[in-house]
Symmetry: C2
Subunit: 131 residues, 2 copies
DNA sequence: GGCATATTCAACCGAATGGTTGACGATCCC
DNA sequence: GGGATCGTCAACCATTCGGTTGAATATGCC
């Protein structure tokens, strides 16, 4: 924590660059989750997921609150605002295609408890399986 | 190049995670530039900038076209669209705050030839100088 | 041809990343 | 108290990243 203070965009974009972390964010979009539950769909150790969550928390993309012995992870979409503004400036796209995102989500998420469909996106949850 | 085919979002976000590369994109927003001219404001070797440009090209954030002995770099904002859509889905921010971006740019860019103001953002062009 | 310019290549280096395993500290519950 | 569960810590490992330097490859110009 002695780091000077790198541009917040650095840490936000770096956090988003990992498919596991993006998948975690997508899961948290549905609901707050405990660390163990976040880890469940991934074929990777709990410690690894814990590290990913630390990266997301460092980028302020999530917050973590310990209640009892379970630590709850909550999406913090505000952290994306600066990054989003930065990106939007380049494209001058059509204003926010939220419909496209909802369509994307429908293929990404299946049930409310983290049971994912085995579409093309399922690969994101077992990145090592990619040949 | 034997890599399977990672999610394009991986490479786009990873490319955006570096302040030097974001600065390059900002410069290219003004105009196409040759590699040497891109490198000029940075306190880093030409080879390093060449690598950064390769990363940006790999993420399809820029294209490079060789005319004569000089290679021109051109911004390709389309590559940001998918990433932007992905991000927007989390925030449900107010639709595209382009004004905020233009204000940001005014502090970022000074002249049309790569002369940057020495505001807070100038640090991005000599990242090593950050204590 | 011969020299200067533009850009990349190759080898190397230190630091950061993403993962593992095993031990550890908290907390819940009987 | 004591066992099970939750989560992190510490050490380790292989790979990637961001940078350097020096040589090599085009290309333009006289």
């Amino acid at each position: 924590m002695t780091a000077p203070s790198p541009d917040p965009l650095d840490t936000v974009f770096a956090a988003l660059a990992d498919p596991t972390r993006r998948a975690i964010l997508t899961m948290l979009l549905e609901d707050d989750m405990a660390v163990t539950d976040v880890a469940e769909p991934f074929s990777m150790s709990l410690a690894a997921i814990s590290k990913h969550l630390a990266v997301l928390a460092d980028a302020r993309l999530i917050t973590q609150e310990k209640r009892g012995r379970v630590k709850w992870c909550k999406l913090e979409p505000d952290a994306l605002r600066a990054a989003s503004v930065w990106m939007q400036g380049f494209g001058q796209f059509d204003p926010v295609d939220l419909d496209a995102f909802e369509r994307f989500l429908e293929t990404e998420l299946d049930g409310p408890t983290g049971a994912f469909s085995d579409t093309e996106n399922a690969a994101e949850f077992d990145a090592n399986s990619a040949s």
